[in-house]
């Protein structure tokens, strides 16, 4: 029983979560998740967006490779009506 449980823990995807600040609010994300994964998780794929981490723009070409660190401050922005 215990062995099975341990093995299940060992084999299962133990997710290490980190906390980022997304548009001013706390959000847990998996440690290995990329910017791209976050955008997918938010169902914002293929939308006209820009993203910055700690006020540095992350170009779209780097979304797949860019990994978050605990405490990152992330801004996801779009264009809205304005004068």
């Amino acid at each position: 029983m215990l062995k099975a449980a341990l093995s299940s823990i060992a084999n299962s995807d133990i997710r290490i979560m980190i906390v980022i600040e997304l548009n001013g609010e706390s959000r847990s994300v998996e440690k290995d998740h990329s910017v791209h994964d976050l955008i997918n998780a938010l169902s914002l794929t293929n939308q006209a967006l820009a993203i910055a981490v700690n006020r540095e723009v992350v170009p779209r070409a780097q979304w797949a490779a860019y990994r978050f660190s605990d405490g990152d401050k992330v801004d996801v922005v779009r264009a809205i009506g304005g004068g």
Binding site: N23, E25, A48, L49, A50, V57, V77, R78, G81
Partner: protein, 263 residues
């Protein structure tokens, strides 16, 4: 300035057919935005950059569906920024959002009551942005000295206010605008304060290269009709400017010949 022989407005090396620039804020919905923008005949449309509302329906139509970048030149602004740092950051995000697009509208505000430009911060932001390769159209006070400074920094258009943003008070200091127009080697656009069509015409008659407005159209009872009125006013004002108006004089002068009168 005053490339008076050309009909188009050239900004940062690109020529636009319309001298009316419009904002996309304050409309009832995106359909009204789309129709009013279309009726205005404008080529350049300002937009604001804001955080995505996380959790909101991601499939809801977006502004860029109503005013597609394939048809319009999108001019991201820094409305709501009160210091140079935030303004620069906003436009760096905008450039990424719009796939490397460099034409931007810089506005750094002084306070919420007047929305008057904070000129020291505006100058600071303009310098950073120009060095970073942006083409900066800049909202500024109607002060010819500051306008000159912005031009020397390398801004591609200076855009003094005619009166407070959203006030609809019209052209309050035509003399200052004339001073700026006379000295400028880049386009001068009135940005802010227009209330109705005659205000836009007056700005153009003074020799402005263009007019940028939002509230005067979006806040009208019939925004789509007002958009058309503004289009006509800007065209009429420009034509009048190029025609060379008659001088003002105190004496009357009859329009009909005196010779051959019956009386």
């Amino acid at each position: 300035m005053n490339d008076s022989q050309h009909t188009g407005l050239t900004i940062a090396g690109k020529t636009y057919g319309s001298r009316l620039l419009v904002g996309s804020g304050k409309y009832k919905d995106l359909e009204q935005t789309r129709l009013a923008t279309e009726a205005s005949g404008a080529d350049i449309i300002t937009v604001a950059i804001r955080r995505v509302n996380i959790g909101q329906d991601p499939n809801a139509p977006s502004l860029l569906d109503a005013v597609p970048p394939s048809r319009y030149t999108i001019l991201p602004n820094t409305a709501g920024c009160y210091n140079a740092k935030d303004a620069v950051y906003t436009l760096q995000l905008a450039r990424e959002l719009l796939n490397g697009h460099t034409l931007v509208k810089l506005e750094v505000l002084g306070d919420e009551k007047t929305l008057f430009p904070n000129m020291p911060e505006t100058l600071k932001a303009a310098e950073t942005l120009v060095k970073d390769g942006f083409d900066v159209m800049v909202y500024c006070s109607d002060d010819p000295i500051q306008a000159k400074m912005l031009e020397e920094i390398g801004c591609c258009a200076v855009m003094p206010l005619a009166s407070l943003i959203g006030s609809g008070m019209g052209i309050l200091n035509p003399w200052n605008l004339s001073l700026i127009i006379d000295q400028a080697k880049v386009p001068v656009l009135v940005d802010a304060g227009v209330g109705t069509a005659s205000d836009a015409a007056i700005a153009m008659e003074l020799g402005c290269d263009g007019v940028l407005m939002n509230t005067a159209i979006a806040g009208a009872q019939d925004p789509i009709r007002m958009a058309r009125a503004m289009k006509l006013a800007v065209e009429a004002g420009r034509e009048a400017f190029l025609s060379g108006r008659i001088p003002r004089k105190f004496a009357a002068s009859p329009s009909s010949p005196m010779a051959g009168r019956i009386a």
